[in-house]
């Protein structure tokens, strides 16, 4: 209980930084994810995330340096390579995008597993550091790494906010944007790079398998609350930050499920479940489109019609 209070009041400086960085990242991911979703590229982040696993392993092999920054650079490079390959296949053939995406997701992940097993087989190699990337371990993050993530998240958020008008035009009417001379190809590419950056930056806290949730769930929830791009970005950012803070807090505070010896609650899944709960809530009670709200409005309308028709009689 005392620990819970200490955590919630953010007295512990390292917890504070870790939570801040996870929340900052969630804000950036939610905003970039909103644009990606409106541009109908919601699941590109999933392919990038899965491609980052072999990237991390390759960086491990090549650099020999195991600092987070080096591993994440490896992840980013392979993420971009994966997106490039997918775009190339798309350009060359007219097979639907979905098959290519699904094959990229599992193929790159398979390569990652192959490489990580080879690291494990090396003398003196252990992949304790790699396993943390699968489901995320925000609680064990180092303060300097947290600062790094926070800076990246800040830069990405600033880019999205600065180019809000251009991105909005791109998402809602690409042909018009091209017509008035906006560099649509470069904007599209920039959006994909931003997706890759937030995906890779989210790996340490949420993990390879679930990081795409940070790009998809808060924007989908925000979609229920908003009719304009500005509101959507703001609401998505708020929902993302709330899920990151609550999820990280829960995974740090709850007693470990496997007993004291077993592992604790995995951070990534807790963040994702919190976001999912907020999404369901949005779906039900959002003022314009919520299911319960609509039911309530219909009920009010019916009773008012009945009472007015009764008074006419």
């Amino acid at each position: 209980m005392a620990e819970l209070l200490r955590l919630l009041s953010l007295q512990d400086s390292s917890t504070r930084v870790v939570m801040l960085s996870t929340a900052g990242l969630a804000i950036a991911a939610a905003m970039v994810g909103s644009l990606a979703m409106l541009r109908r590229r919601a699941l590109v982040g999933d392919a990038v995330a899965h491609a980052s696993l072999p990237g991390i392993c390759l960086a491990w092999f090549v650099a020999g340096d195991r600092s987070l920054a080096v591993l994440l650079v490896g992840a980013f490079v392979l993420g971009l390579a994966c997106m490039g390959t997918m775009a190339l296949v798309q350009r060359l053939t007219n097979v639907r995008e979905d098959a290519t995406t699904a094959i990229a997701i599992s193929g790159f992940f398979g390569l990652g597993i192959v490489l990580s097993r080879m690291i494990q087989n090396q003398p003196g190699g252990n992949r304790a550091g790699l396993d943390g990337f699968l489901f995320g371990k925000a609680a064990s993050a180092v303060t300097s790494d947290a600062w790094l993530v926070l800076v990246v998240a800040g830069v990405v958020s600033a880019t999205v906010l600065g180019l809000r008008k251009e991105f909005g035009l791109l998402c809602f009417d690409r042909a018009f944007a091209a017509g008035i001379g906006r560099p649509v190809h470069r904007l599209d590419a920039l959006l994909l790079v931003l997706v890759a950056i937030v995906t890779v930056a989210g790996l340490p806290s949420v993990g390879v398998v679930l990081v795409v949730a940070m790009l998809v769930i808060p924007p989908a929830a925000a979609r229920c609350w908003s009719v304009s791009l500005g509101t959507m970005l703001a609401v998505a950012a708020a929902i993302g930050a709330a899920s990151a803070i609550i999820g990280t807090g829960l995974s740090a505070v709850l007693p470990p499920p496997g007993g004291a010896s077993g592992g604790g609650w995995p951070t990534g899944p807790m963040i994702v479940l919190t976001a999912a709960a907020l999404f369901v809530l949005s779906l039900l009670v959002a003022p314009q489109q919520g299911l319960l709200t609509a039911m309530w409005r219909r009920h009010r309308l019916r009773s008012s019609v009945q009472s007015s028709s009764g008074s006419m009689r």
Partner: protein, 308 residues
């Protein structure tokens, strides 16, 4: 059956061959079902279902306390069908497009599954990591007696699944074909389009679960989608596509396993890698062939919509 194969390839052990046979069975069973997903442009739904079955498996496991296959199969099939429904329902209510709705559904369910598995970790060793990787290497250690022969349990289950798949596919071939290529026309002929879709989703979920234990949840996606998508590059006709997918699935599993053996690494991971290499290579080859054909003859495009 095993002995002549051992003479042919003396550097392999009987265990290697059984593992390879299991991989081929998994790959072909998933690949055949996956062909229909590819044709219906539902490849990502295969991805979503294979992630989402996790809470079904974990739930069956928490309830029964054993690693019995049947309860897990039931739980996962139910969740798999629920995923297909939830994705389309969320798309309608939440007014987000299909990809995003699927992303929301499968990440949430997968997260739920991982948390449930952490809860179960106290009872029996069920490692979330091995859910992702699969344990193909351990297949020969768990055998059942089948007509006097010791057969790996996974191979027996996968063989059964493959036989059921083929029987169902032959029995409902007309319905599957009609609903995949022209659902509106199929409906006007009196085919129950929704029911066929439901059956296909159930088949995807069931195959995923049976293959899951040996190849893991993410690699099963490669087995579902890659053979069908690769075969689709080479042919515009349905029956040749199914045969070609079967051949590609078997070849991928065999080559992947042998390479993994040589490099001493994860066989399931290598099979997925080889699937992707085969797909990208096929894209390159087909595009090159198409370009040379176009420059030598008149301008017939190298791709056309599939003919039923």
């Amino acid at each position: 059956m095993i002995d002549p194969a051992l003479e042919l390839a003396p550097w392999l052990t009987a265990d290697d061959l059984w593992t390879m046979a299991t991989a081929v069975l998994a790959s072909v069973a998933c690949g055949l079902v996956g062909c229909w997903l590819v044709l219906r442009r539902l490849s990502l739904l295969g991805d979503a279902i294979s992630h989402a079955v996790l809470p079904g498996i974990a739930g069956a496991f928490l309830l029964t306390g054993t690693r019995d296959v049947l309860p897990m199969l039931l739980g996962a099939t139910v969740i798999g069908i629920a995923t297909a429904f939830l994705s389309s329902a969320l798309g309608r209510w939440g007014r987000v497009d299909r990809d995003a709705a699927m992303g929301v559904t499968f990440t949430s369910l997968f997260a739920l599954g991982v948390v449930m598995m952490s809860l179960a970790a106290r009872q029996v060793d069920l490692d979330p990591g091995c859910v992702l990787y699969g344990l193909l290497e351990f297949v020969p250690f768990d055998t059942v007696d089948l007509l006097g022969v010791q057969v790996p349990r996974a191979a027996a289950w996968l063989g059964g699944a493959l036989i059921i798949d083929v029987i169902l596919m032959v029995a409902f071939f007309k319905e599957l074909r009609a609903t995949s290529f022209d659902p509106a026309h199929a409906a006007s002929l009196g085919v129950r389009v929704g029911l066929v879709h439901l059956g296909l989703m159930a088949a995807v979920a069931a195959n995923t679960v049976v293959a899951f234990e040996s190849v893991g949840s993410i690699l099963v996606v490669a087995m579902l989608v890659a053979p069908g998508a690769t075969a689709r590059l080479w042919t515009d006709r349905l029956v040749p596509m199914l045969w070609l997918a079967t051949a590609i699935a078997s070849a991928t599993a065999i080559v992947g396993y042998l390479v993994a053996l040589e490099l001493n690494t994860s066989a399931a991971g290598m099979i997925a890698t080889i699937s992707m290499v085969g797909y990208v290579g096929s894209v390159g080859a087909v595009v090159t062939i198409g370009a040379t054909r176009r420059s030598s003859q008149s301008g017939r495009p190298s791709f056309s919509e599939p003919r039923p």
